[in-house]
Amino acid sequence: MTASREGTSEVMATTLPPPVQHEEEKRERPYDGGGGFRNLVPANGDRRVVADPKGEPTRTGIWVALAAIAMTFAALSSALFVREGSSSSDWHHIVLPRILFFNTAALVASSIALEMARHRVAAFMRGQAPKRSAAMLWLNGTMLLGLVFVAGQYMAWLQLRAQGLYLPTNPNSSFFYLFTGVHVIHVLGGLGGLTRVMVLFSGRFGWRLRRSTLDATSYYWHFMGALWIYLLFLLWLKL
């Protein structure tokens, strides 16, 4: 720890670096941990100006969660490659349902809509926009496009079923249902997050939306879009 301790074999010489001075602080430190109970309420009562500082755990947490999700899909992808290598005889290519491309467009559009919403929310929070309605509209749009995506994926499943391709039919259909299924479950989680954002943003019952919640939700949502594009590429390439 201290250079002086190393190298000298005898008597301890402890010349410690002078401690950095901080004045004793009480709990009004804005960036304290708060142990998860960060019910930050502006002193003037105007919730619209709430912004939370850097290092907010929600934002960190979402990156960590995304790392785990990425790892999960990496594992599934490697499973796909290994499985393809293990037996080529039953690797029957399937034609991807066309609707997947439409769904992709919907998901990308929803990401754009969410970015628009984020700008509107920020404007409202900063007091630049008087009303929530514009932001709410974009949030609703995001939600709707997300639901369109989920419904579209379901349509894709139905189309595959109609071809007689079920989950255990062959490895390609297994992987198709697996990837789309696991992804849709994550997308539904994102829709849950969006709902939460909308409810919090509505300001009812004294609820308030923190910036980090919105940020985290949108990072997650964009990640789902990017993940889907990767998956689509993988499915198109391999299945």
Partner: protein, 269 residues
Amino acid sequence: MSSKIFAVLVIVIALASAVPIIHHSFLGATVAPPQDISTHGYEIDKQMDETMLEAGLSFLAAQLVLGFFVWQFGGRKDGVLKNFPGGAKYLVLAAVLLVGAEVIALGAMGTKAWAKVYFDKPSADAMPVQVQAGQFAFYFHYPGPDGKFGTIHPEKIDEGSGNYFGLADDDPAAKDDIQSGEFVIPVNREIHLMMHGKDVGHSFYVRELRIQQDFVPGIDLSMHFTATKIGRYEIVCTQLCGLGHYNMKAYLNVMSQEDFDKWLKSQAG
């Protein structure tokens, strides 16, 4: 007091641990690997001895130093704090250099032994034998005079009547095949063992031959070795395969060439 007990205990345990290794006999049981009967095994044994020496010395040194330091400094009150001469830097350096050298040396040497088992190709005149592992027995399949193995039909396997490999009656290659529950091989002849898994994972382990290889269902692997000593040895399964795992074994019977020919004849008859 406790520090002295601990120090003595660590040293005693360390020394006692080394005794069975040096002595090879523990409570009347021999704990050393049995004598090697293969042409490649000496490489593995050499590697094992080297590692035992290095690991054993590191083990003893570390435990003795631990015991000694605890004896010396344990329970000391208000003594003058001292630091290990040289501090962390030299310890780290020592660890990196010594262990690094050890790693490289053992790694390189081990590669040689590994290569002998896995990279060398079986010679052209190696005797082919097929082995099938299933719950919970090994069966051996000799191609017979035509040198061709009958095709395995998993659905035709019937252990109750001795058709261990599910050979078909109408398969010409299977007509002269020999199916046996015992692995009989001639001494000093290279064996090319083709491994087939019938159901779940199994493994083929002969201590004396210094070979061990998993059966992977769906993948037919192969192994080759030469036994150099006549005798009867146990083949056991080392991959957990179900309730009869403990009893999944067969015998390896290494015979002289004449005895082996006789055995082949008796089986064909």
